[in-house]
Amino acid sequence: MVVVWKDLLVERRSKETLNALFFFGLLLLFVFQFALGPDRERLAGTLPGLLWLGFILSGLLGLGRTFVAERENDCWEGLLLAPGDKSAIYVGKLAGNLLLMLVIEAILLALFGFFFNLDLAGVLPGLAVVIALGTVALAAVGTLFAAMTAQVRARELLFPVLLLPVEAPVLLATVKATEAVLLGETLGSVAHWLKLLAAADVVYVAVGVLTFDFVLEA
């Protein structure tokens, strides 16, 4: 999809988003450590929550920038004027965002593993499934809302205000599932959470594809 190619090129040239998010993730880790104190046991208990908190906060920043290239270069109308199905643009942006988020999450996970001395080897496959499902849900709604708020006043405020309540069920599901996986339980034991996430993914992407036309329109 040409949109993904273009976004990757722009990103590779400017390197803005990835670098900034990487440092942000690192900072978050320090903040968590300072806020929660050095007590290892206490930290271990809150780990799943902290992990997803890190993912969501990075996501808020990264997803909010989905259309920043269009905004800064004033290309918004250009996208609209291109004839053809606008949903393709949504899918392209979604794919780009997914890629971005998965990279950041992988880095964050590695950093978490390093700082909190976790043994992730055994749980990685299960964890990967949970993270993948949750990230699709985040990116699907995030891309749609980013388009909506791109041209609104106070977009930096409105974007998280709209995204967070909608993502609440996803957050609940992923944290619970991550908790179970980190404790060594099978994916089967959290099947209901995974089904919820999968349902959310389907719904969000479908709504995104169907309504993106209306959001992009002038």
């Binding site: 273009k6 090129l9 040239r13 004033d74 609209l80 004027l81 291109a82 004839p83 053809g84 002038a218």
Partner: protein, 239 residues
């Protein structure tokens, strides 16, 4: 023989919130014709262009471009038009060639590398093809914008103050390019607030004041001074 105008605007009204920008605007443009829409800043020229480009919906009235209704079939209209506005729709971090490739693919075209190079050559950017747009002058960006339409060949070109910010050489180039576009059967609507080169290319001059076309006349019948006089007259009427 062309009977139907390529662009037909009837009774156009456009309101933003409480502000009625355009009201009762009528305009026809035939194939091979170029109309210069003259108006003061804030008169609604850009709004008119946006409506024609399907970037804004008419509040009332009908706008038909190339046989399609702008409000009902915007996608069909978009295939037939090319918009060159203040924002040149180029990504600064990409090169000229990459920008062109991106827009071509987005528009559903599949030009070969040779065709893309040829398009860049037409707009005299072949030497800068591999440079990032960030380094371009305003004129170069405008030319890159137009390169898109060398590939896409729309039937209508909409230009918002196209000669502003260009140097002499670029202006001359644009004039020639627009003339050849007209000769190829396309229709042009340009907006401007000055009395310069635009008028040379235009076949008709329409003065936009008070939300509608106050005067629509063939250019040949007026001199530049006449235009200036009439324009000031109408601008005063409107305010």
């Amino acid at each position: 023989m062309v009977s139907e105008p390529l662009i037909r605007v009837t009774g156009l009204r456009k309101t933003f919130g409480n502000h009625r920008v355009l009201d009762g605007l009528d305009l026809d443009v035939r194939a091979g014709e170029a109309v210069a829409v003259l108006g003061a800043n804030g008169a609604g020229k850009t709004t008119l262009l946006k409506v024609l480009a399907t970037l804004a919906r008419p509040t009332r009235g009908t706008v038909t471009v190339a046989g399609h209704d702008c409000a009902k079939d915007p996608e069909l209209v978009r295939r037939e038009i090319g918009l060159v506005a203040h924002s040149s729709y180029v990504y600064e971090d990409l090169t000229a060639a990459e920008n062109l490739a991106f827009w071509a693919t987005l528009a559903g075209l599949t030009p070969s590398a040779a065709e893309r190079a040829s398009a860049l050559a037409t707009v005299e950017l072949e030497r800068a093809a591999g440079e990032r747009v960030r380094t371009f002058s305003a004129g170069m960006k405008r030319r890159l914008s137009l390169a898109r339409f060398v590939l896409a060949r729309p039937r209508v070109l909409l230009l918002d103050e196209p000669f502003t910010g260009l140097d002499q050489r670029a202006k001359k180039w644009l004039e020639e390019h627009l003339a050849s576009f007209k000769a190829g059967g396309g229709a042009i609507v340009m907006t401007t607030h000055s009395f310069g080169r635009e008028l040379a290319v235009a076949d008709r001059i329409a003065i936009l004041a008070g939300g509608a076309i106050a005067l629509d006349t063939p250019r040949g019948s007026l001199s530049a001074d006449d235009v200036h006089r009439l324009y000031t007259l109408h601008a005063e009427d409107a305010s």
